[in-house]
Structures are given as C-alpha cells and as structure tokens.
Amino acid sequence: MKVQVKNLRKEFGKTVAVDNISFSFDSGHVFGFVGPNGAGKTTTMRIISTIEEPSSGDVLLNGISVCEEPELARRAVGYVPDTLPAHADITVHEYLDFFARAYGMRGQKRTQAVEAIEEFTNVIGIREKSLKSLSKGMKQRVSLGRALVYDPDVLVLDEPAAGLDPRARVELRELLMLLAERKKAILISSHILTELTEICNGVVIIERGKILETGTIEDVLKKSTPRRTVAIRLLDTQNAALIKELLQTPFVENARDVANEIHFECTGDEAAACDILGELIAKKFKIIEFRQTKANLEDIFMNVTKGGVQ
C-alpha cells in the first residue's frame, strides 16, 4: 500500500491550515508527523482518513483518491483520533463488535476478528466494562482496536501516546512495531519526539501548514546537521588550553565548554576528526573520551521550527 499526499491544501475561512504539502510513505513504514500545536497535523490526518475534504490537492491510497472515492478509501484506512471514544451506554466488546459489523464483517469471521483484536490490544479483561468508565490509556487501546478491527492497510494515529503512563507508552510502542512488521503503513503524530525516533523510519516536520523537512530519519538528521559535533572529556582541568588549541586547528569551529566537556563543530569528514584526535594526543592532552554527539529528532525539531501557530 502506497500513501501519497499530493499538494494538499485546506483552508478554514482565511486561515490556511495545510498549505500545499506533499509526501508519501509505504507499507511497513512508520512515518512520524511532527509539528508544533496548530501546525496542521490533525487536519492532514483527518483528510487522509476521509473525515475532512481538502480545499485542493488529494491523497491517494494505492491510486484511490480520498476525495473522489471516500467509501473505497475508508476500507484501507484505520484512524485513531486524538479525541477518545465517548459513547455512553456501550461496552468495549459491543463497541468493537459494532465497528466490525459496520465494516461488513459477518458471522464467525467477525467474532474471531473482534476477539483477536481484544487480545492484541490487551482489552480482554475490560471487554464488558462501559466505555465511559475507562481510563484514558484504556480508551486509547479501545480506539486503536477500533481502527484495527477490520485489518486496514494504513493506520493514521493522532497523538496516540498523549496522556499515557510510561508503561502504557512502552506497550503502545511495542504494538506499533508489531503492526509495522505486519506490513501496515503507519502515520503517527506525537509530541514525544524521543519515542518517535525509536520507532519511525521516516519523518515529516510541519509548521504553519508547510512542510519544513521530510524523508527518512537518517536523511533528515544528515540534512539538518551537516557538521558533526564532537565532544571531548579530559582527565585533568585543561579545558581552557584545549579550547585555545582547538580554535587554531583546521576544520574546527565554535569550540566551547559545555558541562565540563569541550564541544566543537568539525567541518571536515571522519578522517579530519581522526587527525584532530591524533594531534591532540600528540600535544599531550589527557583525553579519556572523544565522541561524536548525535542529533536527535528533538534537536532537529527545535532547529527547524519556530513555534509558530495559526
């Protein structure tokens, strides 16, 4: 299943919530959708899930347009909204059973599918509980179960980890990894970026309705941090001397003291970094750690976004 978002634009009156964005992802991919509040993430996700219509542009699911053929597209998309199910007077099992029926599952197949999903999302113990009486984490599981009950190829999850306790978050992460192994194409938005780094293959960073960065995590990291940052820890307290020395060394810029470590930006390649290390050792600096610091999604997010909302 290939999901292609093409020149998507959504206006609410004079506000442009989504401004001509394009990206794509495939089966087995977990794509992170990152942006500050009001960036247009939920609107995009709702359009992919056929809940909203775009002002222009389209989303194609294996060539099927969500605008032209929403009923067909719906068979392929499972949507977990940021609002949790709030149906009154209905149990978890009845809720999941209803959606299995609504997606045309019949008889024994439906019973088995509902039971399998209850087991997968670990809600068997609460299946006879009223939906309204559940905690946020449990509702989130039910919501995920609802989206999975008819086995869609594409999963769109809007802030699924919001408000979950650490254990529930770990469980959710494991569930998503399992789903990716089952060849689902997953688009997930979250503000917990460290988690996204662990589970996502790709990322889309969006702000004010516009895409700032998109691609695989490695590509985005490389693109956003072209210079490698190197950290050095010394055995003794020769930090000032080291900074002085570094500033005179080729390929070194912006050497500074950060929490008793010396950080500098290496404008050269890995061989250049190696030469710098050799030079410092030759000049009798007592180095006990020389490492390249890795930027994560959080750093990139902070670098590329300005925190603007619409």
Partner: protein, 507 residues
C-alpha cells in the same frame, strides 16, 4: 440496484444481518437511563391514571357505561404526549450528538452507506416507539372491557399514532443531519418542541373525533378506506422525502447527492398527480387539483433554492457515472449534481404541473358540468396568469442570483447563490414600501398598487388588470436573464460527459 443483484440478495437471505446501527442503538437505548427512566415514568403515569379512574368510579352508585372511552381518551393524551414529544427528541439528539460539526462520530467514516445509517436510526426510533406502544397497549385494550370504546378503534388509533411518531422521528433525524452550528440546532429543537405540541393537539382531537363516530361502523364503507389510505400515502411520501434528504445530507460531497432526491420527488410528483386525478374522478370536484399543484409549487420553490446552491464542478466520481449515450446523457443531466441540470428539472416539473392543472381545470368543467365549485373562464385565466407569473419571477430571481454569484463572488461557496435569491426577492418586496414610508406615502392602497418585480405584489393587487403588466415584466426579465446565463448553461451541458480515465480498483 439491478434485478440480478436484487435476486441474488433475496436468494442469500440466510446471510442477512441486522443493520449494525439498529443493534448499536438498541443496545445503547436498553442501557440508557433516559429510555428506561422515561418508560418507567410512562408506566407509572398510566397506572396512576387507571387507578384514579377506577377509584373515582367505585364511589359512584350508577354504572358509567362510557368509562372505557374516558380512560382511553386519557391514555391517548399520555401516549401521544410521550411518544410525539420524547421519542423524536431522543432520536434527534442521538443523531446530532454523532454529527457534531468539528468531531463527527467515526461511524460516518465506516463503510456503512448513508442509506443504511439513516435507515438504522429510523428503525431504532420505530423500535423505541414500539416499546412505548407495547407498554401502553394492555392498558388501552383493558378499556374495551369497561365499555365506551371498541377494539377496532383502539387498534386503529394506535396504528395511526405509531405512523405519526415514525414520521416525526424521520423529521427529527433530518433536522439533526442539517449542517448547522449548535445554537441553530438548539433553536430548531425549541421550534420542534412547539410544533410537537401542535401535532399532539391535532392527534388527540382526531382521536376523540374518531372515537365519537366509532371506527367499527365506518370500516364497512369504501370511502373510509380510500381516505385512510390517502392520508397514509401522503404521510409515507413526506416521511420518504425527509429520508432521502437526510441520506443526501450525510452523503460525501463527492457523491451524486442530487439523484436520489430528484428521482424521489419526480416519482412522488407523478404518483401524487395520478392519485389526485383519481380523487377528482371519484368526487367530481376539479378544484382538488389545487392540492397537488400547491404541494408541487412548495416543493419546487425549495428545490429551486437548493438547485442554485449546487456547485458547477462535478467530482470525478460523479462524472464517471454519466452515461456515454447522448440520449441517456440528456436524461441523466436532470438527475445529476449541478445547478444547470437542476434548473431544467425544476423548470420541467413546474411547467408540466402548470399546464396539467390548467388543462384539468378546463376539461373538468366539461366532464363534470354539475360540479358545485365551478370556475369561470375569467377566474381560470387569472389563475393561469398568477401561476405563470409566479413561476417566471421565481426563475428570474434564481437565475439573477446565480449570475451575481458567478460574476461577483466566484470564490464564495455556491450556497451563497440560494441566499442571494432569497435576499433579492425579500429586498424587492420591502424596498418600495420603505421608499414610500420615507416619502410619507405608505398606505394599504399603495401596497395594493402595481409594484413590478415584487412577486408578493401579485397576490395583493387591487386590480386584476394589473396582472398583465406583471406577467410581461416577469417574462421579459426571465428572457433577459436566460440570455445572460445562456453561455454558462451551454458550457455546463457541453462539459456533462464521462471522463476518459477508468475507475480505480482497490487491491
């Protein structure tokens, strides 16, 4: 649905499953304290009322031979009050809650078709009504033992009341589906509550009247059944109309929303015409044609507003369903989304109704010369002039609004054209009176004078001779605006073709 699909559907009856919406809604209704509480309250009120009647009667020395009738009347009031007021409100609120503008319930993104969703909601309302009626029926049947009411009356009134509740449920579903903000929906609820009081009053009065005359005796007459069936058919036609409108409202904007509605209205219009003709033949009263003509006029007036609020661009999905054959395409043009086809459809029905009504009126006078309410030739001519002028004005306003929208507000949503048409008609009606007011010349006489362009003025003219200038002006304006819109119309008709690409298939 094709015949083959229909045959296949019935052949596999063992695989039929209940509408998921009905199962969900009934599960929720059974668990809901709103329904359970209301049902318990209803039973308590019925029980206390029965007890009150029986205890009061036990102190009376003389046996009351109408006790059953009196008790039944009280039960009808309670049942009508509970079912016409509570059940549609419950059904409407449940639909509206799932159709909040910013957070539509996810059931609307399931693969359930809009027809199944609305039918499920409707069936659930009918089941809840059945629950209330079942609770009330033993009490009502019991009144037959106390004399004063016969069993046919009991069941007939219950059946009629049930149909009214089902129709009210459908209207409530329609109102809940309207794409409005919460304050507007709240205003509609208040309006609906006031309307339900009127319905309850009418129902109770009709039930009392039926009880007095005794349905058992009337059932032997053919006229009773004809009248009953006509009422039931009109009720069903209205319920059906609200059903197709609700389905259209929750259908995706890319679907051909116009087709089921226009097909349904056309069918009802034709069948209604035939039914009316049958009534004219039976009663020999040609004036009955007015019932059909007036209902059609009201329907076409609202249709015209909706039609001009249609977008010009057809989605790919709708275009794929356009038949390639030119003859079939010309017919399909009337029943597809888009203002141009819709205008032709409204114009066809309006003109055919106008011609048929005039023809029936003139032929009726020949067929039934002894008819009580005969129209003179002059009255017939005036009626034709008034009707044709009204139709011409309606189209002139609509086409002018369409032109204004296209010319000056092309980026605004198409529904603005409908609003402009209403504003145009309203402004033209009010403006002369305002001018006369400031000139200190506003009087009843001036209102009755000729005001060209004001459609409402036709109905308040003092001199029938002034009808002719109105007719000429309306037709002239219509002709002019038709010419102005001709290029647009031709473009719409020319682009009404299926796209060359093949439809998508989900792997």
């Amino acid at each position: 649905m094709s015949v083959a699909r229909l045959t296949n559907h019935f052949r596999n009856w063992r695989d039929w499953e209940t509408n998921p919406i009905v199962i969900k809604e009934l599960r929720q209704a059974v668990r809901s304290w709103t329904v359970t509480g209301m049902l318990l309250l209803f039973l308590i009120v019925l029980f206390i009322t029965s007890l009150g009647f029986l205890v009061t009667e036990s102190f009376d020395v003389n046996a009351n031979l109408q006790l059953g009738g009196s008790m039944f009347s009280a039960f009808v009031v309670i049942l009508a009050g509970a079912s016409v007021f509570f059940i549609p409100l419950y059904v409407g609120i449940r639909v509206a809650a799932e159709r909040k503008e910013n957070d539509p319930d996810l059931l609307y993104v399931s693969t359930l078709s809009p027809t199944r969703i609305i039918f499920g909601k409707f069936l659930c309302g009918a089941y809840v009504a059945l629950l209330f009626f079942s609770a009330c029926m033993p009490f009502m049947a019991f009144t037959n033992l106390l004399r004063g009411v016969d069993l046919p009356t009991v069941f007939f009134i219950l059946f009629f009341l049930f149909l009214v509740v089902c129709a009210a449920n459908q209207v409530a579903i329609f109102l809940a589906c309207l794409p409005m903000s919460r304050p507007f929906k709240f205003l509609f609820v208040i309006y609906g509550i006031f309307q339900s009081f009127g319905v309850i009053g009418t129902l109770v009065a009709a039930s009392f009247s039926l009880m007095r005359s005794g349905i058992g005796a009337m059932m032997l007459h053919r006229d009773f059944w004809i009248g009953t069936l006509t009422c039931v058919l009109i009720g069903l036609a209205l319920t059906g109309l609200f059903f197709v409108l609700s389905v259209a409202l929750i259908s995706p904007p890319s679907a051909n929303r116009a087709r089921p509605v226009r097909l349904y209205i056309t069918t009802v219009w034709l069948l209604g015409g035939l039914l009316d003709l049958n009534w004219i033949w039976q009663t020999k009263e040609v004036q009955l044609v007015a019932v059909w003509a007036v209902i059609t006029a009201i329907l076409m007036f609202f249709s015209l507003l909706v039609v001009i609020s249609n977008a010009d661009q057809l989605s790919q999905r709708v275009r794929r369903k356009i038949p390639p054959s030119p003859l079939k395409r010309a017919f399909a043009f009337l029943f597809f989304n888009g203002a141009a086809g819709g205008l032709v459809w409204v114009a066809l029905i309006s003109v055919l109704t106008l011609l048929a009504t005039t023809e029936i009126l003139s032929l009726g006078n020949v067929w039934f010369p002894k008819t009580v309410l005969r129209m003179t030739t002059e009255q017939e001519n005036n009626l034709f002039t008034i009707s044709s002028t009204t139709v011409a004005y309606a189209f002139a306003y609509a086409l002018t609004a369409l032109f204004l929208h296209r010319k000056f507000f092309p980026k605004r949503p198409p529904k603005l054209a409908g609003l402009l048409a209403v504003l145009l008609a309203g402004a033209w009606a009010i403006a002369p009176s305002i001018v006369l007011f400031f000139l200190n010349q506003l009087s009843w006489k001036s209102v009755e004078g000729l005001q060209l362009g004001n459609v409402f003025n036709i109905f308040s003219l003092r001199e029938t001779a002034d009808l002719r200038p109105h007719q000429i002006f309306a037709l002239g304006w219509l002709l002019l605006i038709l010419l102005v819109n001709a290029k647009w119309f031709l473009r719409q008709a020319k682009t009404f073709r299926p796209p060359p690409s093949a439809p998508p298939v989900l792997e």
